[in-house]
Symmetry: C2
Subunit: 343 residues, 2 copies
Amino acid sequence: MAGVKDVARLAGVSVATVSRVLNDSAAVTGETRARVLEAVAELGYRPNAVARSLRTDTTRTIGLVIGDILNPFFTELARAVEDEARRSGYSVVIGNADERPERQDHYVRTLLEQRVDGLLLCPTAEITPLVRDVVRDGAPLVFLDRTLPGLDVPTVRADGAEAIGALVAHLRGLGRRRVAFISGPALLSTGRERTEAFRAAMRANGLEVPEEYLVAGDFRAGSGRETAARLLDLPRPPEVIFAGDNLMALGALDEIRARGLRIPADVGLASYDDVPWFAHLEPPVTAIEQPVQELGRRAVRALLDRVERRPVEPAVLAARLVVRRSCGEAPENRGDGEGSGRA
Amino acid sequence: MAGVKDVARLAGVSVATVSRVLNDSAAVTGETRARVLEAVAELGYRPNAVARSLRTDTTRTIGLVIGDILNPFFTELARAVEDEARRSGYSVVIGNADERPERQDHYVRTLLEQRVDGLLLCPTAEITPLVRDVVRDGAPLVFLDRTLPGLDVPTVRADGAEAIGALVAHLRGLGRRRVAFISGPALLSTGRERTEAFRAAMRANGLEVPEEYLVAGDFRAGSGRETAARLLDLPRPPEVIFAGDNLMALGALDEIRARGLRIPADVGLASYDDVPWFAHLEPPVTAIEQPVQELGRRAVRALLDRVERRPVEPAVLAARLVVRRSCGEAPENRGDGEGSGRA
DNA sequence: AAACAGCGTGTAAACGTTTACAAGACGTTG
DNA sequence: CAACGTCTTGTAAACGTTTACACGCTGTTT
C-alpha cells in the first residue's frame, strides 16, 4: 500500500512536506500543496493511523465497555457516547462485557493495549485486580452509569431516588400499598442504590416493605421471570412488581402473562429504565427514564477533560418518572402519559 | 509507560528475548523466561499493540459497519459477530452508519486507516465512490445482510422469499386477501428483494396487489407510521399490513393504535425481522425471523477466510416464519405460536 | 551593504515493537 | 580434536508516520 514516501516521490517533494499538507501543520505554498494533493488522489493514498499513533502517542479513540449489548439501555448509551465522541473527532471502540467480570477485563486489557486515549467503563459487579491496577496506574478512566466503592474515579451517572419517590407516591395514590422490588446485584452500585431509594421512599410514604418483597435479580430477563414467580407464589403476593431494570421487567411480564394474570387489575408492573417499546405494550408500562443522551454526552466530556488535562467534573443527573397505565388507571392527574421532558 | 526495553533491562536480557517469551515465538530457557515474566509483572508492562501492529502489519481487529445501532436486528447481529470474532482472537470495532451514506463512508475510511484486518459492511442505499474504490483496491471486504448491485464482493445474507411465501399462504388461510407491504428503500437489496418476493408470493396465491398497497419506507419507525397512515386512509384499506422491517412495524403499530383500531380484528400486522419484544405485545406479532446468530458467525468466517487467503464461501441462509396472533386467530394448524427452531 | 527576520522546504531521528541474522556455548560425531 | 549441529541469546534494521532542527531564499531594516 502506498505510503507517504511514494506520495513524496510522485509530487517531487519531501515526506515532511507531504505530512505538512496532510495535517496542515505548517504553511505550504499553494502550488506544492496542490501537487501533493494530486499525488495523494492519484495513488489513492490512505494515511496509516497505526504509524501516526505510534509517533504521536495518541489514537483519537476512546474505549467504551458496556454491561450488556442486548440491553437497550446500553445500546442507547453507546449511541449517545458515539455521537458526542465523533463531534470531538474521536472514534469509539465498544466492548461488550456481557455482565461478566472476566470479559470486562478482557476488553479493558485489549483497549489499553490498543492505547485508546481514554476509557469509559460501566463496571460489572466485582472490582477486579485489573481494574484496581489500572486505576492505580492513573489511566484516563471514567465510570459510567455505575460506580465502584472505594475507587477514586470520576463517575457520570443518574440518580433515581427522586423518581422512585415519585413512583411510590403514584402507587399510593392508586391505592396500591404492597409493592415488591426486584433489585439488581447488590455488588453493583445501581443495584444497591435503587434498593435503598425504594426502601426510603416506601418509608416516607408510610408503607411497609416485608423482607420477602425484596428479591435480587441479575439485570437479565431470566432472573426477572424467576423472581417474579417467587413473588407471585407468596401467600400474600404484592399488588405491584417494580423491576430494577428493563430486562427484568420483561421477564416479570412474561411470568405474569404466563399465569394469565391481568395488568394492572391483578398485579401492577413498573420498571426502572424506560425503553421505546414499553410505550407499545398493552397496557403501556410505567417506567423511570434515565437521561441517557445526556449521560453519554457528559461521560465523553468528562473523559476528554481528563485526557486533555482539564479539570474534570463528575455528574449526577436526575432520572424521571414516566407514568403510563401498567399500575392502574390514575384517577389523579391524568397527564399525557408520556411525561413532558425535563432535559 | 514501561516498554519492552525496560523489561529487558530489569530482567537482564535483550529486547528480543522479551519479545520471544511474550509471544512464545521461539524457545527460551525456563529460567530466563521466569525472569522476564517477573519483570513484566513488576513493571505492570502492557504491550503496545500500536507498535506491534506497525511492525507486523496486522491488527487482529475487524471492522463492522452496521446500518443503525438503534435497530435491534443490528444489535443482535453485532453481538453475534463479536462473539465469533473473539473466538478467533479478533476484536471488533463497530461503526454506526445511521443509515446515512456519508456516515458509512466516514467509518469505512476511519477503519481502513486504522488498518483493520478486514471489514464487514452492511451497505447503505447508495454505492458511494469510496466503496467502489475500496472494492477496486481489493481490500478484504465482506457484505453482510445487504448487498450492492454490480460489485464483486462476497456477501452473507438471509433470503426471505420462502418465509414470505409461507406468510402469504398463512394470510390466505385466514381469509385475508388484501395485503399491503411497506418496503425498505428500493436502493437497498433488502428493500427490493423483499418487495419482489412479496409480489411473487401474492401472485402464486392468486392474490392481487394494487399499486397503492406497495408503499416505500426507509427502515425507520417514522416512515412506518406515515406509510401506515396512507394505507389506512385508502378508500379500500388493506386487511393486513406487512412491514419490511421491525422498526417500520413499530411505526405502523403506533398509527393503528392511535386510530383506535383493533389488531387483528380491524387490521392485521406482520413484520419482517423478529425482535424479542414482538412476543410480548398484545397480540403478539407474527414475524419473519432471520437467523441472526448464524449470519454473524458466517460473516466472520467468510471475512477471516478472505483475510487469511483461504477460499471464501458466501452464504445465503433461509429466514423463517413465526406465526403469532397479530393477523388473526388461526383456525388452521394451531402451533405453539413460536415456531419450532430450524437453525 | 550588512544584518536579520520570515517563510518554505528538506534531513534525519524517534516512536515500541518483531525478526532476520549472527554469534556464542555446548554436545555429538567423525 | 576438529568439525559440525543445536540451542539460546543478542544486535540492529525495519514498519510509516511526525517533527525538531537546519538550510537557503527573499525582502526588510539598520
